[in-house]
């Protein structure tokens, strides 16, 4: 029937997203994809078949961690109703302009798209991005309609995607949420980690502003554990949510790591993004990169570092990664962008030590070649050193992007909060912790993950907090968390 007809009409490719030319964009910090117009986005939406849900097959919607009604909002776009489409998205999604940009949709919603079985999937991410940008530009500012107050107060620790989602959702339910954020700007990794050219900070600011206008209080410059403890917050609030993220840099612990010119990805990206060192000396915070910059690691963070280094004037930017191209954990789109911009990949190689000059500056990195052996616990083939294959790379800057650990500040100041051996806060399926009235979610409980997973955690926690505040104040016994914490 109609399906067959529709198939023949399928446009095999996504409508192209205009991008800044690679040779141009390495000289600026402006966003790489330029966005699409209403007409193109409507055509893109029309590539969608409006599949019906069925128990036997997975659809786009099943791949979205916050369960956006994707066919529903796309239908509205097909019919030109952008504001109705946006309303459907907002039911589930508090940071649409962010997720439309940085969500790994290729493995999530778009990964399940039926059109994508034989062709390019429907560009769900870019439609979401377009709608959020459209809303930001078209809609008037002002207070957002708030439901009647329940009189309940919730403290949210950490203003990253997890915390902002919890706070936004609680506000929609009439609870008073106050976010306590350590930094001067809210957004967590969105403001200090992900670079301007992937996620303009103006957009994060607008999304945070939207959450604020929906009735959430955000207190910046507020380090919980140093100012109030969680126990003190519990005295003044009916519940507490902890979403402090995985902000602790991992180190290589190799000889010479404290030489000048060796920075954690966090230091490098925080200087550049949060403190806007790319605008030095108009902004006061300095940053320095040498002619050749070597980035250790192969994830999104490493790609962000290597690409940022080029924009800061490095002549050569090299990624040193211990496995092969296929195992690079970064999103394919990011790897592709990095390659286009001229980032060089030194694969199957691992650092051995750093070599400094007389003034304490790094001048070389010694590395060793690797080969891949049997798969390890993660299912990826384990890298093995090829003895005697050491080589030396000249470099003036080394950026260490080999992962982040959970932020220990709050657990350290809250002795009765159970943590796991990885340092994450132990939680049950609802995000409840070993401490009554205290919930946690996002990278602090999952370990470093993604924006949308942190938001999914936040949504579940908001539901659980609502239930705890309004219907059922019972709490699991300590044993639940003993198990989770071993």
């Amino acid at each position: 029937m109609a399906e067959g007809k529709k198939k023949s009409r399928i446009i095999p490719k996504k409508y192209p997203m205009p991008e800044q030319d690679p040779n141009e964009r390495v000289k600026n910090f402006n966003e790489v994809p330029l966005g699409q117009d209403a007409e193109t986005i409507t055509l893109e939406a029309k590539r969608c078949l409006q599949c019906k849900e069925s128990p036997t097959r997975k659809l786009c919607k099943d791949g979205c961690p916050v369960e956006i009604d994707i066919p529903g909002f796309i239908k509205q776009v097909q019919e030109g109703n952008f504001s109705e489409a946006m309303r459907i998205i907002r039911l589930k999604q508090n940071l649409p302009a962010v997720c439309g940009r940085v969500c790994p949709y290729e493995n999530q919603c778009e990964g399940n798209c039926i059109v994508g079985k034989k062709n390019d999937p429907v560009g769900i991410g870019r439609i979401e991005r377009f709608l959020a940008d459209w809303e930001r530009n078209e809609q008037k500012k002002g207070k957002i309609e708030a439901p009647p107050s329940t009189g309940k107060k919730v403290a949210v620790v950490g203003g990253g995607p997890a915390g902002l989602t919890v706070a936004g959702d609680l506000a929609k339910l009439g609870h008073k949420a106050t976010v306590f954020e350590a930094l001067q700007y809210s957004g967590g990794v969105l403001v200090y980690g992900i670079p301007e050219f992937r996620l303009p900070k103006e957009i994060v600011k607008a999304e945070v502003d939207f959450i604020r206008r929906s009735g959430v209080d955000i207190k910046n410059d507020h380090v919980v554990g140093k100012l109030e403890t969680v126990d003190e917050l519990l005295e003044e609030h009916d519940a507490v949510f902890i979403g402090t993220g995985a902000g602790l840099p991992n180190w290589t612990n190799l000889e010479g790591e404290n030489l000048n010119g060796i920075l954690s990805a966090n230091e490098f990206l925080t200087r550049v993004n949060l403190m806007k060192a790319f605008n030095f000396p108009d902004y006061d915070t300095p940053i320095r990169v040498g002619k050749r910059v070597v980035t250790l690691g192969g994830g999104n963070v490493a790609m962000d570092c290597a690409r940022t280094a080029l924009r800061l004037g490095a002549e050569e930017s090299i990624i040193l990664y211990r496995r092969s191209d296929a195992e690079l954990p970064a999103r394919r789109e990011e790897i592709h962008h990095a390659k286009e911009e001229g980032v060089r990949f030194e694969l199957l190689a691992a650092p051995v030590k750093y070599i400094g000059d007389d003034c304490g500056n790094v001048k070389q990195i010694e590395a060793i070649r690797m080969e891949l052996g049997e798969p390890d616990d993660s299912g990826r083939r384990r890298p093995i050193r090829i003895e005697g294959s050491n080589f030396v790379l000249d470099c003036q800057t080394v950026l260490i992007a080999i992962g982040q650990s959970p932020n220990p500040l709050v657990p350290m100041a809250t002795p009765d909060l159970k943590t796991t051996k990885w340092g994450t806060i132990a939680v049950d399926a609802d995000g409840r912790t070993s401490k009554k009235g205290v919930f946690a979610g996002g990278d602090i409980s999952t370990g470093a993950a993604t924006v949308i997973l942190a938001m999914g955690d936040g949504k579940r926690a908001a539901k659980a907090i609502h239930k705890y505040l309004t219907e059922d104040p019972s709490w699991p016994d300590a044993e639940t968390f003993e198990k989770a914490s071993c």
Partner: protein, 279 residues
């Protein structure tokens, strides 16, 4: 954006290059302890810099910082007046000074370090210690916090590099004399220029007198998330803003700290020149 306002309630110059600001920050004042610091940003384009709290009062709801104007940010601070506000102010950060009754404690401070030393001497005195303070500066006009420190010390020794007041020479000379006289010293606390702290640590090491130093590595966030402030203590990497800023002086790698603090020298000069030019 920062919705917070941190108003300066009092601004004064202690010397031509040293500014003291009292800032309204009741939430910080309530929690602050000796040895802790704040990170502040003067304006939206500003850098986050760490400054120790030279004083704090929960009753008044204020904290006091004392800054030596050496670069762009501290010079900007020097232009602020009562009624102005800071863009951002975070604290209290870092581990507080360990307040034990050691017996007799010698506190040694130099230059701007005297402002940082004052709350430490005061708190250690309160903890029951006999306090000997040795304070120094280039000349008598640069001696800050002398009266305040004197009030909370059992003994006070003053040194100036040019001999304009007290002992003509370094604070380390006086400490050496006390050690040579076999005075009972249970603990030494030193804060000031890196070279001074290094000399003091080297002096007390052979006598096994436990010596705490307050380090000043370059910081960005001040909460442990970047590692800019890492220092080597006992051969291991420590995070200055979380594990410190105070460390066992006998175990600190001062050479590494000195080198690391010179990382942005060229940029700091550009910053300062453009600021002085603009003014």
């Amino acid at each position: 954006m920062c919705a917070n306002m941190y108003e300066i309630v009092k601004a004064e110059k202690l010397t031509p290059d040293v500014t003291r600001l009292e800032i309204a920050a009741p939430h910080i004042a309530k929690k602050a302890m000796a040895g802790q610091f704040v990170m502040l940003t003067v304006d939206e384009h500003g850098e986050r810099i760490p400054l120790t709290m030279a004083d704090f009062s929960a009753e008044k709801g204020t904290i006091t910082i004392v800054a030596l104007e050496i670069g762009k940010t501290t010079k900007k601070l020097g232009t602020l007046k009562a009624g102005d506000s800071l863009f951002s102010l975070v604290g209290p950060l870092g581990m507080p000074t360990e307040l034990k009754n050691y017996g007799t404690v010698v506190c040694v401070g130099g230059g701007i370090g005297l402002a940082l030393m004052y709350p430490v001497v005061r708190s250690l005195k309160k903890a029951g210690n006999r306090m000997i303070s040795i304070i120094g500066a280039k000349n008598k006009d640069l001696l800050i916090y002398e009266d305040e420190i004197e009030k909370v010390s059992d003994e006070l020794y003053v040194c100036t590099d040019d001999g304009s007041k007290g002992h003509h020479g370094f604070v380390s000379d006086v400490l050496k004399r006390l050690v040579d006289e076999k005075r009972k010293i249970d603990e030494v606390y030193a804060v000031g220029p890196i070279i001074m702290m290094k000399v003091i640590a080297n002096l007390t090491r052979p006598y096994n007198i436990h010596t705490v130093v307050s380090l000043n590595p370059i910081m960005v966030d001040g909460t442990g998330m970047c590692g800019s402030c890492r220092v080597i203590v006992d051969g291991k990497t420590k995070i200055g803003c979380v594990d410190g800023p105070e460390f066992d002086g006998h175990k600190v790698d001062f050479e590494n700290l000195t080198a690391r603090n010179r990382r942005y020298l060229a940029e700091e000069e550009i910053s300062l020149r453009s600021f002085m030019g603009a003014k």
